[in-house]
């Protein structure tokens, strides 16, 4: 699970696009960021592992791929053989499907194998579209990424789901890293006896762990400082909506001690809806639109690790 161990080619990066709720625009944003990067000359592979609806191909205007990740799991076909042309130079697509990734059908070892092979793909950028939900498979894939990207809509259900998703991811990350340091069951143990330790939430769990042994505190501080979320706000309709991005950044820091990069937003735009209906890649057909510019802006911010420029603050 350690990113650094397996990954030798440091030139590339894995971006995972998740966020908890379905329908917030993750797939659209993944395909658009990929298209933008490919047209900039980067070598891209998109991996669609949206369990409920692997449909990334539709956003690129290609038909449902016949080869999918189930070939990898069941027949051992290498990932590079499953990568399909997308119609956009430099960019390939590996499609997931419902059967191969349905909740319990892949074993932990299979998952590790998939991650190892993803890390070995000879592409500069691997963009993984995670789909909704906070299932462990989704979260583990999120956690192997070099850049963990959360797409959010400015409405309460999406916000609630994202909190849930991020807290679960963090919980799992801490559990895994403490395990790798030899503290095998400590997180589970504390969480299970939370009444005894007066722990009501993740924040208190972290505090309690830190106070238990000083070196655990150091490990946690290190892990927390590495756990960075890149936040994209989609379907924005007002400047009030944009503030939600800054608010969530603030809450993650002040409540969980997590750093968030609010990289940008995408205003609600009928052209996107039309483009999806027409099954044509948006960045190609509406390349000069305001939305395309917004997509470019946050993609660049993710690339460079910078944030949205606050003009309204």
């Amino acid at each position: 699970m350690e990113k650094t161990g397996v990954r030798k080619n440091k030139e590339g990066e894995i971006w995972a696009i998740g966020g908890g709720k379905g329908g917030t625009g993750k797939t659209f944003i993944t395909s658009s960021m990929g298209t933008y990067l490919a047209r900039k000359g980067k070598r891209i592979v998109l991996i669609d592992i949206d369990i409920g609806g692997a449909n990334l191909h539709s956003f690129l205007g290609i038909s449902r791929p016949k080869k999918s990740l189930s070939f990898f799991f069941e027949k051992g076909v290498p990932l590079s053989k499953l990568a399909l042309k997308t119609g956009i130079g430099n960019m390939y697509l590996i499609s997931g499907d419902i059967h191969s990734l349905a909740s319990d059908s892949i074993k932990f070892t299979q998952k590790l194998k998939l991650f190892r092979h993803i890390l070995k793909l000879n592409k500069q950028y691997v963009l993984i579209d995670l789909g909704g939900g906070s299932h462990n498979n989704t979260i583990d894939t999120f956690l192997i990424a070099d850049k963990m990207i959360a797409v959010l809509e400015p409405e309460i259900i999406a916000i609630e789901n994202m909190y849930h998703f991020i807290k679960n991811s963090l919980f799992r990350k801490l559990k895994m890293s403490l395990r790798s340091y030899g503290f095998k069951e400590i997180v589970e143990h504390m969480w299970e006896s939370r009444e005894k330790y007066k722990i009501n939430n993740l924040n208190e769990l972290i505090e309690c762990l830190k106070n238990s042994f000083s070196y655990i505190g150091d490990i946690l501080d290190e892990e927390l400082s590495k756990f960075k979320i890149y936040l994209i706000l989609n379907k924005v309709r007002s400047s009030q909506d944009i503030i939600i991005g800054s608010s969530i950044k603030s809450i993650f820091m002040k409540y969980l001690g997590l750093e968030t990069q609010f990289v940008g937003y995408l205003e609600y735009d009928d052209a996107i809806w039309r483009s999806i209906r027409e099954r044509r890649p948006f960045m190609v057909n509406y390349g000069t639109s305001r939305s395309a510019k917004e997509i470019e802006t946050f993609t660049e911010n993710i690339l460079q690790g910078s944030e949205i420029k606050h003009s309204r603050n």
């Binding site: 409405e155 309460i156 609630e160 909190y163 924040n203 939600i244 608010s247 603030s250 409540y255």
Partner: protein, 185 residues
């Protein structure tokens, strides 16, 4: 350097240490609103992040704002923050100072009180050392044109956490008085 000492306050308000006075204010208001009221971003975690916990954060925000603001006014609103202010000199002078306009010597005095060297200013603001000195010593005859001058003054004032607009306006007023006198002669 001053702004670095106050870094923790800027961190609490989630702004960079080169934030202007108005940015400090709007960040404060935004965060105060965020943590005091229920909203779409607070409600989903309100049970584990209740008002009682948020009050602690509000207190830090309040403290950071007070510290930065008391620093930023040269004698102006300091009666309520006297303990914190670096420029406080006692009650009777407060009223007088309130109307004291900014000038070269006043800027110089504030800079020295805050223990900032000319070179430090130059490094951080990218204004040349000679120019800063000329501004402070009011060597009007060697200063650049008014539009440029105004820009430099507000950058410098902002750096000292002063009101950039007031500083520039006050200074330019004095500059114009000098200029019209010269032209008369």
């Amino acid at each position: 350097m001053l702004r670095k000492e106050y870094k923790k306050y800027f961190d609490v308000l989630e702004i960079s240490p080169d934030a202007s006075l108005s940015q400090i204010k709007s960040a404060y208001l935004r965060l105060k609103r965020l943590y005091s009221a229920e909203s779409v971003v607070i409600s989903p975690i309100a049970d584990e992040f209740p008002y009682k916990r948020r009050q602690k954060i509000l207190k830090q925000i309040e403290g950071a704002y007070t510290a930065l603001i008391s620093l930023s006014y040269h004698g102006q609103h300091k009666s309520s923050y006297r303990g914190e202010s670096l420029t406080s000199k006692g009650g009777s002078e407060d009223k007088k100072e309130k109307s004291t306009p900014f000038s070269g010597p006043v800027l110089r005095q504030i800079r020295k009180e805050r223990g900032i060297g000319l070179y430090e200013v130059a490094l951080d603001t990218k204004i040349r050392v000679e120019l800063i000195e000329n501004i402070e010593l009011e060597r009007f005859e060697v200063l650049p044109q008014e539009v440029y001058l105004k820009g430099h003054i507000s950058v410098y004032a902002n750096y000292l956490l002063l009101d950039p607009k007031k500083a520039a306006d006050d200074y330019i007023k004095k500059y114009r008085e000098w200029k019209s006198k010269i032209e008369e002669e």
